[in-house]
């Protein structure tokens, strides 16, 4: 029996493998796949080919398009790389999310593409990307398609990715304004989020995007709360009324549909995302006022 691991050296080779091989298992950082293999909840079958994505150079890019004001991050970029330049200044909420992921060991292994593909509602990076309005570039032998990050996951561990398809990169606008990510866990490090919120306040378009993690089957965009926030913020003076903040909290709690589990209760999670969204917006507006 031969159980091979393929190491494609380019997007072209990777795409060819996915076209020609009937059964493949994609390996990025391994922080989910290896846990499943170690614990026996997943096995590599004799007819399956493990495809390591590490040696595909196109997956490691971080590109800044100043003309289109676009940041493009390869799916294979790891958390540790998201902590530094240029992501820390161009997409700071993604850097904040990256810093809350696991430990240094996990951050040097786990990738942003893996975070999306594994389709967990608690994905810290996914929450930041959804608030940023990021788009995942999906590639397969049939070609390429662009899917909003919030639409990639369809439920826990389920996604729109086809068997012969992979995430090549993630594109996000460079937003002028303020952005932040907050997360609640049972301790201060090494923790899966009990609730997470990312907020992006755009001074370019006087709009707000609020993303919620761990309060539904997938990371979600709080549409109504985002629209209401965008409309009720006084963008000239960077202020908002206490009543409007309370209304935003309420709209966030309404869209949340969490469950009780071993990490927390649904009631606590709903309450938490409401508080986190309010605090982030308050903090963001204050920091924007301070920098005028």
């Amino acid at each position: 029996m031969c159980v091979p691991v393929a190491h494609p050296q380019s997007i072209e080779q990777l795409t060819a493998l996915l076209r020609d091989e009937p059964k493949t298992v994609l390996l990025a950082g391994g922080t989910d796949l290896m846990v499943a293999l170690n614990h026996g909840s997943q096995r590599i079958g004799p007819d399956e080919l493990v495809v390591s994505l590490k040696e595909v150079p196109e997956l490691s890019i971080i590109e800044v398009d100043h003309v289109q004001r676009l940041l493009r991050i390869g799916a294979g970029v790891n958390w540790d790389e998201l902590l530094g330049a240029p992501v820390d200044t161009l997409a700071p909420c993604l850097t904040q999310a990256a810093r809350t992921v696991g430990s240094h060991q996990i951050r040097t292994a786990g990738t942003i593409g893996g975070n999306i593909a594994t389709a967990s509602p608690a994905g810290d990076g996914v929450c930041a990307l959804v608030a940023l309005g990021a788009v995942a570039v999906l590639t397969s032998p049939e070609g390429q398609r662009r899917v909003a990050v919030e639409d990639v996951a369809t439920g826990p561990k389920r996604s729109v990715l086809a068997n012969d398809e992979f995430i090549e990169s993630i594109e996000m606008p460079i937003v002028d304004g303020w952005q932040g990510y907050s997360k609640i866990g049972t301790r201060n490090a090494m923790v899966i989020s009990v609730a997470g919120v990312a907020v992006v306040l755009s001074a370019d378009s006087n709009s707000c995007r609020i993303a919620l993690g761990s309060v539904g089957p997938t990371v979600m965009l709080a549409d109504n709360a985002s629209t209401f926030a965008g409309d009720s913020i006084d963008w000239t003076n960077k202020e908002i009324s206490a009543d409007s903040l309370e209304r935003i909290s309420e709209l966030v709690r309404q869209v949340a549909s969490p469950i009780d589990d071993h990490r927390s209760t649904a009631t606590y999670r709903s309450h938490s995302v409401g508080v986190l969204a309010r605090r982030l917006i308050e903090r963001g507006l204050q920091e924007m006022r301070n920098s005028i």
Binding site: H7, V50, Q105
Partner: protein, 162 residues
């Protein structure tokens, strides 16, 4: 040309030596290969899900949990385990002298994490040390003496020792 390696028979570079791995099984972790096939039992296996850090090794200079590395995917990488440090680096000596070890189970992983931190940062503050070691759980010491050991090395190195 896509390189395809046989997952049962492959070579790894561990502590500077080419090592043959035979009869690997599909999905086998680097930790298992190090301990059970290559006889390098310094890296410890506990949670096997990246929580405890006791299996930490350096992979191409990066600190990783060896339990989360597919062994057969690391054929092009350089692996350094606790055995590869020798036994008397300044970090190892400081851990002993500061009493930063008790049962010793977490120690190899913590030594690897501390060694890696001091390569990335020459003068880490206490918060930075604690953050860098957050992925290595110790159930004996309460971490105080571990942080102290790392701080001791920082001071020694700043005074010109290496």
């Amino acid at each position: 040309m896509t390189n395809i390696h046989d997952e049962r028979h492959f070579e790894l570079t561990v502590n500077g030596e080419r090592r043959q791995v035979v009869d690997g099984y599909p999905g086998e972790s680097l930790l298992t290969v190090l301990r059970d096939r290559l006889g390098l039992t310094g890296a410890k296996g506990a949670c096997e899900e990246g929580e405890c850090g006791s299996c930490s090794v350096l992979l191409d200079g990066n600190l990783v949990c060896s339990c989360l590395v597919l062994a057969a995917s690391a054929t092009q990488s350089s692996v350094v385990t606790i055995e590869g440090l020798g036994g008397s680096t300044d970090v190892q000596t400081a851990f002993v002298e500061c009493g930063a070890i008790q049962c010793g189970f977490c120690t190899p992983g913590l030594i690897m994490a501390a060694t890696n931190l001091l390569e990335r940062s020459t003068e880490p503050q206490t918060d930075e040390i604690r953050e860098a070691l957050a992925g290595n759980l110790c159930r004996c010491t309460g971490y105080g003496r571990i942080v102290e050991a790392v701080q001791t090395v920082v001071v020694q190195r700043s005074q010109g020792a290496s």
